[in-house]
Amino acid sequence: MKDRLTKWRLLSVFAVLALALSGCGEPFLSTLKPAGDVAKQQYNLMILSTVIMVTVIAVVTVIFVLAITRFRRKKGDENKIPKQVEGSHLLEIIWTVIPIILLLILAVPTVTATFDQANVKDMDKKPKKDGTRDALVVNVRANLYWWEFEYPDYKVMTSQELVVPTDQKVYFNLKASDVKHSFWIPAAGGKMDTNTDNVNKFWLKFDSDKSEEAGNLFYGKCAELCGPSHALMDFKVETKSQDDFKQWISTMQSAKPAAPTDTAAVEGQKLFEQNCLSCHATSPDDSRPEQARLAPNLATFGERSRIAGILDHNEEELKNWIRDPEKYKPGNKMTGTYKQLNEQELDQLAAYLMSLKVEEQ
């Protein structure tokens, strides 16, 4: 009877906590609204540890409050000398053993989850004859302040916006090309550093229902100080059902170079070729070597949700960005690398860039 009572109590603590915590944050960003297996497992660990910790705090607080209320020096006690107690073996054993037990309870799932989340064996399974594998692999390259996502098995490349299928493990190869960054999609799971020394590997999974709640668009962050615009090194994750994703891949693979019809855009294209093409590519199958890929691939630029990861996606902001990128992302690598542009040229460039689309081509 008593047993059930404590169990019930514990459960309700869990429930209340989970409720209180999940009231927090936005579904596209918060770790408290886990949208996939990894995040969920981590969330469960967070809840388990929080419950233990709240218990610890509660015990300490109770003893503490009792002590400071009951034993305050009262009027008339000025000369009272309390009994000088040396210690108590029994008590000391109790408060050594109980924490050890609590920590063991915590340690077991910790170790299991650690190994679970580091399991990327499928990634290294031999590619099939045609060079592809079952596992979906994305190569992530972090750069001062932009992200590149390459789908090596499909020869497709995007920047700033990662596209992933739902309900399927997505494996990542992570590295940085200049300084260290860290790849973090809070709602989908914990972060992993992109080192300059090596390639890190991990996986994430996106739940379709949760993705829908988040509007199929998650926020990604750079979580390692990397310079002035570290705070602005955001990216977005677009989730698609597996079929839609396959569709998307094949559209990307067959994307034709943009052929604008609008006169302004045609002029813009010329300008772009003169000033910008040395860094930016406009087709998703950019075959240049990594070192030559100095800037985000703009093949899908017209379909993005943000400019440079942070600005609203419209022509006005686009022109602002091209006019003075430094103002929006201090220390970025684009500032001052192209000629001064007048308003008309900006309009033309904007028209051209906005016409860069793959899916609605």
Binding site: M53, K180, G190, A231
Partner: protein, 624 residues
């Protein structure tokens, strides 16, 4: 007094402090210098919070923000918290063990001046082309990429002040091992002395890895080496390991002395001996030991692999056990006591729930997979400010009030002190509690600004308001200090009336030779034992005799100054400045010249003669 005489008085006071080797005066130097750095770090924190109060703010620029956060962290840890703790160690520890002096008075002074010049050098970066901006951790890829001289200031400044700290550590260790009064066995040492001992041992072993890696950073940036240059075969993870092999013990270097201060305060104001003294000692040593085995918990996301992550996760959790032992021992110390809520006691009492909250989030972070979420988010910021501010800074504030009479002979106002406490306490929780949730909601740390529409606005505003409360608290403390110093009401040996350890048996402040006769220690809480037997003074262990004292010396200042000068040479050497190399060499010549001078010149110190001691008929020292 004529103005001329006063001026000379001032100049001679300054000279006195520049050359002093008296641990009590060095303590005051540490207190002042550390206090000033604390204010600077605090002002930097206020600017950080001002910038983050609202989204898309442009109160400071992105570059300046990175400088602010780097200098805030570096200043607070290296130049404020640690030196302030060293101040209390210097002021109190030798008195607690009944020593006339520290083991190496000269080295003690040298340690201070190295710290001081290192800190000065670091902070001059603000005026000489920009402060370091790669975070206090200064991870290698970014710190090599960072332009200007900011990181050079960081490397050289920390190197110099690090030497100073190392010397301080060795000095305290030898003092405690060799200079205890008769009868002061290890297991009768007050807890603050014990924690000083363990923290000093941590300094001894934690600083060398930092020294080594800072040398590497210096060589890479200034002399063309390739330790961290991946293109030439280098490896940036080496820096991360070294930084944390140092960095984790460092946080225990900070918290252990804080624990010591609280132990003294709890037993004093509960009028009870410390509950479970021997397990407290044991826990202290165990924390120190474990502190060296867990550093990779700062690197869970680096990609060390599941085996390393699992091992370090479990090892980290283990530290909760000895820390818990301490917490419960304190609770049982006040349990059944007669608690008097003085200002120091208020901080001590507030420390318990605050620190436990911070400690348990530490254990949550030890859960490696969950830490993939917490790492480099505001959750971490919340964790470490809970333990550092709720632990270390509370201890510093408590210690300031508690030991003020012993250091200066006057009592800080309890009224203003309570005001300070209330504002600081409320402000602290306001500022940092919400940061847990900001982190969980996806806010990375070290961000210069944040965009609206991510659910982060309210939390940040609350946090900034809290910071303002803390500032009010700190300012009221400054006012308190000024008022108290102006009033200058002298107090006696044992102004708190319930002092238990040796320092409360001698006058406030202590005479420069500390104890006229070395006391005989007959148990834990030596002075309390005597008081319980109705005595007001200690039992002497020796007849009055000549006391040997060290001579003052200007050499420590000069040695440190030399390194300070040399650092400029090393730094500007990169810019191909013609004067840089001569300055580097010149500075080193000054340093080594002063060292050689010191070793060639005999310095036997001087004696205070028995007769002079007998003449002083006041209550200083021990009466026969």
């Amino acid at each position: 007094m004529s103005t001329i005489a006063q001026k000379r008085g001032f100049a001679s006071t300054v000279w006195d402090y520049l050359t002093t080797v008296d641990h009590k005066k060095i303590a005051i130097l540490y207190l002042i210098a550390g206090g000033i750095f604390f204010l600077m770090g605090g002002v930097e924190a206020m600017m950080i919070r001002a910038q983050l109060a609202v989204p898309n703010n442009d109160f400071v620029s992105a570059g300046l923000f990175n400088e602010l956060l780097t200098m805030h962290g570096t200043t607070m840890i290296f130049l404020a918290a640690m030196p302030l703790l060293l101040a209390f160690m210097n002021a109190i520890m030798p008195l607690q063990i009944g020593a006339r002096d520290v083991a190496f008075p000269f080295v003690n002074a040298l340690g201070f001046w190295l710290f001081f010049f290192g800190g000065l050098f670091l902070n001059l970066s603000w005026f000489l082309g920009g402060a370091p901006d790669a975070g206090w951790t200064s991870y290698a890829s970014l710190s090599l990429a960072s332009e200007g001289h900011g990181i050079d200031f960081y490397a050289l400044g920390l190197q110099i002040s690090g030497f100073g700290t190392l010397m301080g550590g060795i000095n305290f260790l030898v003092t405690i091992i060799n200079m205890r009064a008769p009868g002061m066995t290890y297991m009768r040492m007050p807890l603050f002395t014990w924690t000083t001992f363990v923290a000093s041992a941590l300094i001894l072993f934690a600083f060398p890895p930092l020294t080594a890696s800072i040398f590497m950073l210096t060589f890479d940036r200034m002399f063309g080496a390739n330790f961290f240059n991946v293109a030439a075969g280098g490896n940036t993870i080496i820096w991360e390991h070294f930084f944390w092999i140092f960095g984790h013990p460092e946080v225990y270097i900070l918290i252990l002395p804080a624990f010591g201060i609280f132990s003294e305060i709890f037993s004093t104001f509960s009028r009870k001996r410390l509950f479970g003294y021997s397990s407290m000692v044991f826990a202290t040593v165990l924390i120190g030991f474990l502190g060296f085995m867990v550093w990779a918990h700062h690197m869970f996301t680096v990609g060390l692999g599941p085996v390393a992550n699992a091992i370090f996760a479990v090892a980290t959790m283990a530290i909760a056990v000895p820390t818990g032992i301490k917490i419960f021992n304190w609770l049982l110390t006040i349990w059944g006591g007669s608690i008097k809520f003085t200002v120091p006691m208020l901080y001590a009492v507030a420390f318990i729930p605050s620190f436990v909250a911070g400690g348990v989030t530490g254990v949550m972070q030890a859960v490696a997979p969950a830490d993939y979420q917490y790492h480099d988010s505001y959750f971490i910021v919340a964790h470490f400010h809970y333990v550092i501010v709720g632990g270390v800074v509370f201890a510093l504030l408590a210690g300031t009030h508690f030991y003020w009479p012993k250091m200066f002979g006057t009592m800080l106002s309890e009224k203003i002190g309570k005001f300070t406490f209330v504002f600081f306490f409320i402000g602290f929780h306001l500022t940092f509690f919400v940061q847990h949730f900001l982190g969980l909601m996806g806010m990375p740390r070290r961000v210069w600004t944040f965009l609206p529409g991510q659910g982060l606005d309210t939390g940040n505003l609350v946090s900034s308001i809290g910071a303002a409360f803390m500032a009010v608290g700190v300012i009221s403390l400054l006012i308190n200090v000024v008022i108290t110093s102006v009033k200058n009401e002298r107090v006696g040996n044992d102004p708190w009336e319930d002092g238990r350890t040796l320092e409360w048996a001698i006058s406030s402040p202590a005479p420069f030779y500390n104890f006229k006769q070395l006391p005989l220690v007959r148990g834990l809480d030596a002075y309390w034992l005597e008081k319980m037997e109705g005595k007001t003074t200690l039992t002497p262990a020796e007849p009055i005799g000549d006391i040997h004292m060290p001579n003052s010396s200007f050499v420590p200042f000069v040695i440190s100054l030399g390194l300070f000068i040399a650092a400029f040479g090393a730094m500007y050497h990169v810019d191909d400045k013609a004067w840089a190399l001569p300055v580097l060499i010149g500075g080193l010549v000054i340093t080594f010249g002063a060292m050689i001078y010191r070793s060639l010149k005999d310095d036997h110190g001087f004696h205070i003669h028995k007769e002079e001691l007998m003449e002083e008929n006041d209550d200083k020292g021990v009466k026969a």
